[in-house]
C-alpha cells in the first residue's frame, strides 16, 4: 500500500493545523484514498494505474488547504485575559457596572441632583457632628498613657450636694501623697489667676496652683527648663513659676533667656523655671464642674503653697480634714487596674470614717478616669445630637429610596429588554447596587462640603464651655466615618428598591401601558416608606420641640437679679501689697465710692462670686435653737462675701429686714444676710434676729433676700448666705456697677478709677451681666439650636418626600382620574381621593411616631427643664405641624390632579 499519509501531509503542510485536528483529517483522507485504491485494484487496474488515479483524487487539494486555513483562522479565539482569576473578573465587572451606572445617572439629571443633595445633607450633618464627638469624646487626651489618669472625688449622700461630687479633704490628699499602693504619681490642683504686671499692660491670665508632682503625673516635660521641685511647693520657698508656650511667645516675645529671669506675678517677683510645650494648657475650665473656676486655658503654673500644718491662721494646710477644695489627679501604676485602685480607696474611706467620724463619716472616694471627667459635661448632649442627626440621615435615605422606587418603575422597559437579552436577576441587582454606591459616593463627596460648612457654623456658635470642640476638624477619622455612612446609606436606601425593581413580569413589562400586580406592591412599599419617614420626623421634632420649650423656660426663669445695665469686672489684690483684711476692705470701699461718683453710674458694689459667673464656696451652717444634727452632716450653704451696695446694684429684692450697711464693720456685731431658701430652715420663726453659726462664729441674721440663680440657670436654688465684706474681707472680688444705658460705655471710666487707686491692678474680664446670663445659657442654646436645625431639615425632607410620592402616584393614575372625571366625578371628589391617599401613610406614621417619641423623650429627660417628657402641648403641637405640612405637600399634586382634563388624560398614556 502506498504511503498516502506522506502525500496528504505534504499538501496540507502550509495550513499549520493543530496537531490533533491534522491527524484526524489525515486519517480520514488516508482511508478515503485506500478505499479508492482498493476499489481500482479490484476493478482490474494495475498498481501503477490505481496509484496514479488515486493520486488524482487529491487534485485541487490546494483549495482544500486554503479552505482549511480559512476555517482555522475563523475559529473562535479564547479571550486571553491577563492574570485571569475570579477577583480580577469581579473588579472588571464592578468597573463596568459603575460606568454603566454613571451613564444612567447622567441620563436623569433631575433625579440624580435631588438624590445627591438629599444624601449630602444627611451625610454632611452626620459627619459634622461626628467630628465634634471625635474631638470631645473619642480622641485620647494629649498625655502619654492617658487611660492611666484618674481624678479622685469624694461623695457623701447625706449632704445635699445634688449630683455633684465633692473634692477630697486636704488631709486625705496628704495621706495619699505620703503613702499609697495604687498611684505612681499624684497631684493636687487649685484654680488661680495671675496678674502679670511687667511693662505697660498689666494682664490677667488663667493660672493653677499645683503640687510638685503635677507635670510628672500628666507625663509632660517642659520645652525649656524644669518642673517644680518638692521643696518649692510650700510657702516660704523661693518663688518660682512655669509659663505656657503661648504666653511666652505673646508677652515675652519668645525670649530665649527667659528661664532664670524673674517676672511679676500677682505683685510678687517669681523666677521662671520652665516653659511648657505648645498646646499644653491643662487644666481647662470647661472640663471641670462650675464650682472650680479654672480659667478657659491655664497659662501660668504656680506652686500650690499649702502649709504643712494648721497654724491657726486659717490658711489652707495639709492637716485640715474639713477643707475640701483641690482637684486631685493621679496616674495609676502600670500593673494596677482601676478596680484595684478603687478598692484601695474604699478601704481608706472606711478606715478614715472609723478613725475620724466627725469629719469623715459617710464619705466615700470615687475614681473617675480623666478622659471621662473631661468629656463629662458634653457627653450626653453630644450623643443626643448624634442620635438626632442619625434620624435625619435615615429620613434622607427613605426619601432617596422612594425616588429610586419611582425611577425603577420608569425603567421597567429598559430592564425588561436587558433581562430578555440574558441579564439575570443577580446581574441586575449588582447593576443597581453599583448605581446606589455611585449616588452615595457623590452624596458623601458633596456632604463633606456640607460638613465643613456645618462645622464652621457649629464652632462659631460653640460655647467654649465645651472643651476640645475647637479641635474638631474634618480629619482622616471623620473622612473614614463619612465613607462608612455613605456605604451604609447606600445599602439602606438601595436595598428595597433594588429588590423590588429587579423582580418584574417580563412579558408584562415589554407590553405598552402595562402595570400589573407589581405596581400595587410597589405602591404599598412606598406608602410604608412615607410612614417610616413621618414617624422618624415626628420623633425628631418632638425632641427638638421639648428642648426648645425647655430653653424658653430656662430663659424665662427669673434669675433673681437685674441682668441689664450692669457692668462687672474682677479685681485681685496681691497679698504683698494688701496684707490682711483691713487693707482689702478699705480698698474695695474706696473703689466703690469712686465708681458711684461717676456720671452714668447709679450704684456699685462687690461680691466674691458673681451669680452664674462660676466659682463657689460652700460652708456648713448651724441654726441657733434648731434640733442638733449629727456632726459631719450639717446642712451646707453657698457663701458669698458682699459689700453693702451689692444688693441694690444687682436689683436683688429684700424680703425681710435689711441688707448690709456701712456700719457693719469688723468692730460691730457680726451679721449675715440669708436667702429665702435658707429662711425656710427656720420653720415658722422669723429668721431676722436669729443666730447662725458660719465659719466657726455666731452671726445674727439681719435680712432675707430673694433667691438668686447661682451655679447654672437650671440648678435648684440652694441655701445662700451673704457675709459683709467689711467683717471678713477677701482680696479677690468681682465689682459690679449699675449704669444708665450701655454698661460697656462706662468700662474705660471704671478702668481709670481702678488705675487711679492702683496702677498695677488690671480690671480683668470686663463684661456685662447680660453676657454672663447669656453665657450661662450658651450650652443649652447651642444644643437646642442644633436640634431645632436638624428637626426643621427633617421636616422639609419629609415634606419633599411626601410631595414626591404623591405627585408620582397621581402622575401614574392620570388615566384613571380622567376616566373618573369623564364618568362624572367632580374636582372636589378627586381632591378628596388624592388627599385621602396621600395622608393615609402620614397618619400611620404619626401614630408610630407617637409611640417612638414617648420612648425617645424619656431618654432626653435629663436635659429638659420645666417641661415633662410627655408634655401633651408639645406632642400635640408637633403632630399638628407635621400633619399640616403633609397636607400642604399633598395639596399641590391633588390640585393638579383635580384639574386634569379628562379628554387629555384618556388620550395620552
Amino acid at each position: 500500500m502506498p504511503d498516502w499519509k506522506h502525500e496528504i501531509r505534504r499538501r496540507l503542510a502550509g495550513v499549520k493545523l493543530e496537531p490533533a485536528r491534522e491527524a484526524a483529517i489525515i486519517e480520514e483522507l488516508v482511508q478515503y484514498l485506500e478505499d479508492c485504491y482498493a476499489e481500482l485494484l479490484s476493478s482490474g487496474a494495475t498498481e501503477a494505474e490505481a496509484h496514479q488515479r488515486t493520486l488524482a483524487e487529491l487534485r485541487g487539494s490546494e483549495f482544500l488547504a486554503r479552505e482549511l486555513r480559512r476555517m482555522e483562522r475563523q475559529a473562535p479565539q479564547e479571550p486571553i485575559v491577563l492574570g485571569t482569576n475570579r477577583r480580577t473578573k469581579m473588579i472588571a465587572d464592578l468597573w463596568q457596572d459603575l460606568r454603566f451606572g454613571a451613564r444612567m445617572l447622567r441620563k436623569t439629571p433631575g433625579f440624580t441632583a435631588v438624590a445627591v443633595l438629599t444624601l449630602a445633607l444627611g451625610i454632611g450633618a452626620c459627619t459634622a457632628i461626628f467630628s465634634l464627638i471625635n474631638a470631645a469624646l473619642l480622641r485620647a487626651l494629649p498625655f502619654p498613657d492617658s487611660d492611666r489618669l484618674v481624678v479622685l472625688w469624694a461623695d457623701n449622700p447625706a449632704l445635699s450636694l445634688g449630683s455633684l461630687s465633692s473634692p477630697p479633704a486636704n488631709a486625705d490628699i496628704a495621706a495619699w501623697r505620703h503613702h499609697n499602693e495604687s498611684f505612681a504619681h499624684l497631684t493636687a490642683i487649685s484654680p488661680r489667676t495671675a496678674d502679670l504686671a511687667d511693662g505697660e499692660n498689666p494682664e490677667r491670665v488663667g493660672a493653677a496652683g499645683v503640687t510638685a508632682g503635677f507635670f510628672e503625673t500628666l507625663g509632660v516635660t517642659p520645652l525649656v527648663g524644669r518642673t517644680l521641685a518638692p521643696d518649692e511647693e510650700a510657702p516660704g520657698a523661693p518663688p518660682v513659676v512655669l509659663i505656657s508656650h503661648g504666653l511666652w511667645q505673646r508677652r515675652f516675645g519668645g525670649d530665649a533667656a527667659l528661664v532664670g529671669k524673674s517676672i511679676s506675678v500677682n505683685g510678687d517677683k517669681r523666677m521662671v523655671i520652665g516653659i511648657l510645650p505648645p498646646e499644653f494648657d491643662f487644666p481647662r475650665g470647661a472640663e471641670w464642674p462650675a464650682f472650680y473656676p479654672f480659667p478657659g486655658r491655664t497659662e501660668v503654673w504656680l506652686p500650690l503653697g499649702f502649709r504643712a500644718r494648721d497654724d491657726g491662721t486659717g490658711w489652707s494646710n495639709w492637716e485640715s480634714r474639713v477643707e475640701r477644695g483641690l482637684v486631685v489627679v493621679a496616674r495609676l501604676k502600670r500593673d494596677i487596674s482601676l478596680r484595684q485602685a478603687q478598692a484601695e480607696m474604699d478601704a481608706f474611706a472606711v478606715r478614715e470614717a472609723n478613725v475620724h467620724p466627725d469629719s469623715h463619716k459617710g464619705w466615700s472616694i470615687k475614681l473617675v478616669p480623666l478622659s471621662k471627667q473631661v468629656a463629662g459635661r458634653s457627653q450626653k448632649a453630644l450623643l443626643i445630637l448624634f442620635a438626632a442627626v442619625g434620624l435625619l440621615l435615615l429620613i434622607a435615605c427613605v426619601n432617596v429610596a422612594n425616588l429610586l422606587l419611582a425611577r425603577g418603575v420608569a425603567r421597567q422597559q429598559e430592564l425588561a429588554v436587558r433581562a430578555a437579552l440574558g441579564a439575570n436577576r443577580i446581574r441586575l441587582l449588582r447593576q443597581m447596587g453599583a448605581e446606589c454606591l455611585l449616588l452615595a459616593s457623590l452624596g458623601s463627596g458633596l456632604g463633606l462640603l456640607v460638613a465643613e460648612a456645618c462645622l464652621k457654623i457649629f464652632l462659631a456658635l460653640n460655647p467654649l464651655t465645651y472643651s476640645r470642640l475647637d479641635e474638631a476638624a474634618l480629619d482622616l477619622t471623620a473622612l473614614g466615618f463619612a465613607a462608612f455612612i455613605a456605604l451604609l446609606a447606600s445599602v439602606l436606601f438601595g436595598f428595597v428598591p433594588a429588590l423590588q425593581t429587579s423582580r418584574f413580569d417580563l412579558r408584562g413589562s415589554l407590553q405598552e401601558g402595562s402595570r400589573g400586580a407589581e405596581g400595587a406592591v410597589r405602591d404599598r412599599i412606598r406608602g410604608w416608606l412615607v410612614a417610616a419617614e413621618v414617624a422618624l420626623a415626628l420623633v425628631l421634632l418632638t425632641v427638638a420641640g421639648l428642648m426648645v420649650r425647655s430653653f424658653w423656660r430656662v430663659q424665662a426663669a427669673p434669675t433673681g437679679f437685674r441682668s441689664d445695665s450692669v457692668l462687672a469686672f474682677d479685681v485681685q489684690l496681691p497679698d504683698a501689697r494688701y496684707p490682711g483684711e483691713a487693707p482689702a476692705a478699705a480698698f474695695f470701699q474706696q473703689l466703690i465710692t469712686r465708681l458711684e461718683s461717676l456720671p452714668g453710674v447709679l450704684g456699685a458694689g462687690a461680691i466674691s462670686y458673681l451669680p452664674l459667673g462660676g466659682g463657689e464656696n460652700m460652708g456648713s451652717f448651724v441654726i441657733d435653737g434648731a434640733p442638733p444634727v449629727i456632726p459631719g452632716s450639717e446642712p451646707a450653704a453657698e457663701r458669698r462675701w458682699a459689700t453693702p451696695g451689692y444688693f441694690a446694684t444687682m436689683g436683688i429684692p429684700i424680703k425681710r429686714g435689711r441688707v448690709f450697711q456701712l456700719t457693719d464693720t469688723d468692730d460691730h456685731p457680726q451679721v449675715v444676710v440669708i436667702n429665702e431658701t435658707l429662711a425656710r430652715f427656720f420653720g415658722e420663726r422669723d429668721p431676722v434676729g436669729q443666730r447662725i453659726k458660719v465659719g466657726g462664729a455666731w452671726r445674727t441674721v439681719v435680712g432675707v433676700v430673694s433667691d438668686v440663680k447661682s451655679g447654672s440657670l437650671e440648678e435648684e436654688i440652694r441655701p445662700q448666705l451673704y457675709l459683709p465684706h467689711a467683717q471678713w474681707a477677701w482680696g479677690e472680688m468681682t465689682v459690679v456697677a449699675q449704669t444708665e444705658g450701655d454698661p460697656l460705655a462706662q468700662a474705660s471710666a471704671a478702668r481709670n478709677e481702678l488705675k487711679a487707686l492702683d496702677p498695677l491692678l488690671p480690671a480683668a474680664k470686663i463684661r456685662t451681666l447680660k453676657q454672663v446670663v447669656s453665657n450661662a445659657a450658651s450650652v443649652r442654646r447651642f444644643n437646642t439650636a442644633l436640634l431645632a436645625f436638624f428637626a426643621v431639615a427633617a421636616l422639609l425632607l419629609t415634606m419633599l418626600g411626601i410631595y414626591g410620592v404623591v405627585a408620582f402616584l397621581m402622575g401614574r393614575r392620570r388615566r384613571e382620574i380622567g376616566i373618573r372625571m369623564a364618568l362624572g366625578a367632580q374636582s372636589r371628589d378627586v381632591l378628596r381621593l388624592v388627599l385621602r391617599q396621600g395622608m393615609k401613610p402620614v397618619v400611620v406614621g404619626c401614630i408610630a411616631g407617637l409611640a417612638g417619641s414617648l420612648a425617645a423623650t424619656r431618654l432626653v429627660a435629663s436635659q429638659l427643664y420645666g417641661v415633662s417628657p410627655t408634655d401633651s402641648l408639645t406632642l400635640g403641637g408637633v403632630m399638628a405641624l407635621l400633619l399640616a405640612t403633609a397636607l400642604l405637600a399633598c395639596w399641590f399634586p391633588a390640585r393638579r390632579a383635580a384639574r386634569v382634563d379628562p379628554m387629555e388624560a384618556l388620550k395620552t398614556e
Binding site: E28, Q31, Y32, C36, A56, L58, S61, E67
Partner: protein, 117 residues
Amino acid sequence: MSTINSQKFDRELKKGGAELLVLSLLEARPRHGYEVRKLIEARSDGVLKFNAASLYLLLYRLEKRGWIEGRWVEKAGQRRRRFYKLTKDGKKALAAQRSIWESFVAAINRVTRPENA
C-alpha cells in the same frame, strides 16, 4: 410560489447544488466520505463526480456551518471511520435548498415549455 432570494440563488447555481446533493444523501442515514462519493457517482450515472479534495472541502464546510456532524465510529474487525449525519439545522437547510431548487426547475420548465400555436 416562494420568493427566491436572488443572491442565494446565484451562489447555489455556482456550486451546482453540490451541498444539496450531499445533504440529501445524508438524510436517509449517516455515511462516510467515500460512500457519499460513490453514491453521487452511481445515482447520477457517472455524470456528477467528486474527488477527495472537493468532497472533503464540502464536508468540512458543512460541518463548520453546523449542518452535518462528523463522528468516528469503530466497528468490530475494522478500522475506525468518520461518519457524517444531518443535524437539525441541516435538515432545515436541506428543505430550504430543495424548495429553491424545485422552484428553479419549475421556472425553467415553464419558460422552455413548447408554445401552443
